[in-house]
């Protein structure tokens, strides 16, 4: 029931954001220099930012970009982790040792530091769309090690199960065994790992953005909107500046609840 409610509210927020972008004729980058930091009006429901850009449109776009980017990155990272974990579990122990050592190298550095280092070493003067792609690709490329370890342990536990030995005795190839038997059995591990990645990636993007390494302007992002909060003089003029952070916390809260539910079921 709680799970359904969380999915429902999340879906409602996504639909609302999509409708805002579809129905509002204003572009997220369009500047209205005559009405900077405008209060709530019929034209700008939640006012404008310091460059006169419509806040509702920007928040809706940031929400969709963040969710879509994090979901795609989570799919990539879970796939890498699944591949890595399965190869390690079904290979010679030396190969497994090497693969687990590689994951240990990634895990030996704190996630945000590693992410920051990798992101800062990539081109910073790219177009906004390219920075968004680079940011989420970085997240996907560096988010898999912990997940791979979980899948490796799960696969090792399943390796000696009777149904797998039976399948092998029946002449099934390793690829068939993995596709037909192992992956369905690993689903209770893979789904929570995938769901965990989404809020983690959204938070990471916001933290990276607040350090000046996130998605480039004028593309809206949670990180850039967090940076807006740095200016307390502007905050006194418009309380609508708190809208992005409030919405971000609500979305992350729903995602965290869903993750907890899935983990409890697993």
């Amino acid at each position: 029931m709680k799970k359904l409610a969380s999915y429902g509210v999340l879906l409602l927020i996504v639909v609302a954001a999509t409708l805002v972008l579809r129905l509002t004729p204003i572009d997220y980058a369009a500047q209205d220099r005559d009405s900077t930091l405008a209060p709530s009006t019929a034209q700008h429901w939640t006012g404008t930012d310091e460059l006169g850009r419509d806040r509702t449109v920007r928040v809706a776009a940031a929400l969709l970009i963040g969710l879509a980017g994090a979901t795609i990155a989570a799919v990539i990272t879970t796939s890498i982790a699944a591949g890595f974990g399965l190869i390690a579990a079904f290979s010679h122990s030396a190969v497994a040792d090497v693969l687990m050592f590689i994951s240990d190298v990634f895990l030996s550095l704190p996630w945000l530091f590693l992410l920051m280092m990798a992101r800062a070493m990539l081109p910073l003067t790219a177009s906004p769309v390219q920075t968004a792609i680079l940011t989420f690709l970085c997240l996907a490329a560096l988010g898999w090690p912990a997940c791979a370890r979980v899948i490796y342990r799960g696969s090792v536990a399943l390796r000696s199960s009777e149904w797998l030995i039976h399948g092998r005795a029946c002449g099934l190839k390793t690829s068939q065994l993995i596709r037909l038997h192992l992956l369905p059995h690993l689903r209770p591990l893979l789904l929570p790992q995938f769901l965990i990645c989404i809020p983690v990636f959204i938070v990471a993007e916001a933290n990276l953005g607040s350090l000046g390494l996130g998605i480039g302007e004028p593309l809206p992002s949670w990180g850039a909107m967090l940076l807006e909060l740095d200016n307390s003089a502007l905050l006194a003029q418009s309380h609508w500046m708190y809208l992005p952070i409030a919405l971000l916390v609500i979305v992350l809260f729903l995602l965290e609840s869903l993750t907890s539910e899935e983990q409890n079921h697993a």
């Binding site: 050592f101 240990d104 190298v105 895990l107 030996s108 550095l109 704190p110 996630w111 945000l112 530091f113 920051m116 280092m117 990798a118 800062a120 070493m121 990539l122 081109p123 910073l124 809020p199 938070v203 916001a206 933290n207 607040s210 350090l211 000046g212 949670w222 990180g223 967090l226 909060l229 740095d230 307390s232 905050l235 952070i245 971000l248 916390v249 609500i250 992350l252 809260f253 995602l255 965290e256 609840s257 907890s260």
Partner: protein, 285 residues
């Protein structure tokens, strides 16, 4: 395999890991765009020929071989090389900052653990209203560190220790309450409770020995979480610590500082992990 062999193998693995981290950080920075640029090239007072000469000299000076030689020489000398942006030995930069960050980390982890334990224990024995009890921690988990820090500054309340404490408490509470709930509902504990053992005896004799291994893992995880959170917290609160130095080194492609920072961070994580798994091995032996 005897304990000594296991110990030697673990230490060798950790050293190899640190070597790979140092090599990775060097490669990442060396091949980053803009690493070879020199700000003097932008100065109009230098003629085109001089600028070309500077470029050639810079490229020669920054080849992978010369970087490695310089790094190793700095480490042998004990000053960890010279910072590219501050032009002082790296040790001079790191030493005062470590004190600041260690104090912040120690306070944050200690208070975070205390808060998590004090709240997770009632949550694990609670029959009703647990979701309501969990709510503030889920909300904290849903708040990015940078957002928490910014809100603290805006509200002019709390500081880096509070943000770190809340972050650690939120992460640890989730894990601790699950572990303690499992322990509390286990069959032997139910029997102990039925026999009338007091809470203190139950905790000392049954709960703690059962969850000790997972608590050690959580302690390692807390250190990693705190180290990662240190960067946005120190940058936003302008704390002159290790995290701020790491951020500045990354932004300015300061290779000697970055290698030292990476090695220190990886060393701390590896050491914490080694202590945690070492205790397990000793217990098993």
């Amino acid at each position: 395999m005897n304990l000594l062999a296991i110990g030697v193998r673990r230490v060798a693995r950790t050293l190899l890991l640190l070597l790979v981290v140092a090599a990775g950080a060097t490669a990442l920075v060396r091949f980053a765009p803009g690493f070879l640029s020199d700000e003097r090239e932008m100065d109009a007072k230098y003629a085109q020929g001089v600028r070309s000469e500077m470029q050639t000299e810079g490229t020669r000076d920054q080849s992978v071989g010369s970087i490695v030689v310089r790094e190793v020489r700095g480490w042998m000398k004990g000053d960890l090389g010279e910072s590219r942006q501050f032009e002082v030995p790296v040790t001079e930069l790191i030493a005062p900052r470590i004190k600041v960050s260690v104090l912040l980390l120690a306070r944050g982890i200690l208070f975070g653990w205390l808060l998590a334990i004090c709240t997770a224990f009632p949550a694990s024995v609670m029959r009703r209203g647990r979701q309501l009890w969990d709510l503030p921690f889920t909300l904290l988990l849903a708040s990015p560190t940078a957002a928490m820090a910014t809100i603290c500054i805006l509200a002019d309340a709390g500081g880096p220790v509070l943000v770190l404490t809340l972050l650690i408490a939120a992460r640890d509470f989730k894990f601790l309450s699950r572990v303690l709930r499992e322990a509390w509902n286990s069959a032997h504990l139910l029997q102990g409770r039925a026999q009338g053992l007091g809470l203190a005896a139950l905790t000392r004799l049954h709960i703690l020995p059962n969850v000790a291994q997972r608590l050690r893992a959580l302690a390692t995880l807390s250190i990693v979480t705190a180290l990662a959170a240190l960067i946005p917290i120190e940058v936003i609160f302008n704390v002159p610590g290790f995290g701020q130095l790491a951020w500045s080194a990354v932004m300015n492609r300061d290779l000697p500082v970055l290698v030292a920072v990476s090695l220190l961070m990886a060393g701390v994580v590896a050491l914490a992990s080694m202590i945690s798994t070492g205790a397990e091995t000793l217990e098993a032996a």
